[in-house]
Symmetry: C2
Subunit: 129 residues, 2 copies
DNA sequence: TTAACATCTGAATGATGGTGCAGATATGGA
DNA sequence: TCCATATCTGCACCATCATTCAGATGTTAA
């Protein structure tokens, strides 16, 4: 990567700051994968869905819909997304489909985020408390 | 919360599954806060930006722009969002503004997610390998 | 002061994403 | 077979959001 093609040369650019980072910062595909993981948790419905699954063993769509107060259609859409990303797996028992977390990783990230959310609590509603 | 207002009563509803979860699953404001944390990491540019800051001590906008290959305007918008959410803090030194992570929490979540991203690697591009 | 420059900001745009709706699929019971 | 039901799917709508562009703000040096 070129370091000299830009304008700021005197004050701004700090080669000693950025050169050691050149190969370390995530890029391209890896950055997309990283952001992709968080995308799955960045929606309240999905976050609650995954949280419910992390607290339980397995739950059917109808249970989830009732528990979260969302339509079964909405949850089905979200569950399909989560299934495509291999975050949840499903078990069919007759007409009922049970979902469970397929990935222990998400449980960790979710627990981490939840702990932080409860610690830092009021994000930007109130001024710096 | 009503458990009987819905239709499925024979097979689907499992009161023994959902009643113990009724008070435990995150709801409302807390769910929004939880999802809000992950929203900040759900964009490749922000994820890389925060990753760069987590590897370094502090970086100015110009350094970040060069390092990430994004316009300074785009980064400034993102940095404002991150500053509003109290995830980064800034230090002004003349014309140059240096940003750093304000929150050790994000560093944890980011490291966790990155570890998982590198472990699980190819998300849904390839069929189940 | 004027010029150069690092950063910020508002508006506009193009893309993405969550959900409702209606209909389809699949399973179990009569 | 026919009906009820649990889940899935395609389409459409609306909201959100990341980025660009142009201009504004604030700072340093001459």
């Amino acid at each position: 990567m070129e370091l000299t093609r830009h304008r700021c040369e005197v004050e701004c650019i700090h080669p000693e700051h950025i050169t050691p980072l050149l190969g370390k910062v995530v890029t391209g595909r890896e950055a997309d994968d990283l952001a992709g993981i968080f995308e799955l948790l960045a929606d309240p419905t999905r976050a609650r869905l995954l949280h419910a699954l992390s607290l339980s063993d397995e739950l059917c769509v109808c249970d989830l819909a009732l528990l979260l107060g969302r339509s079964e259609s909405a949850l089905s859409h979200q569950l399909r997304l989560l299934r495509d990303r291999r975050v949840v797996s499903r078990r069919k028992a007759g007409r009922v489909v049970y979902y469970r977390l397929a990935d222990k990783h998400i449980r960790h990230v979710l627990a981490d985020g939840l702990r932080h959310a409860r610690e830092v609590a009021p994000r930007s509603e109130r001024q710096a408390s």
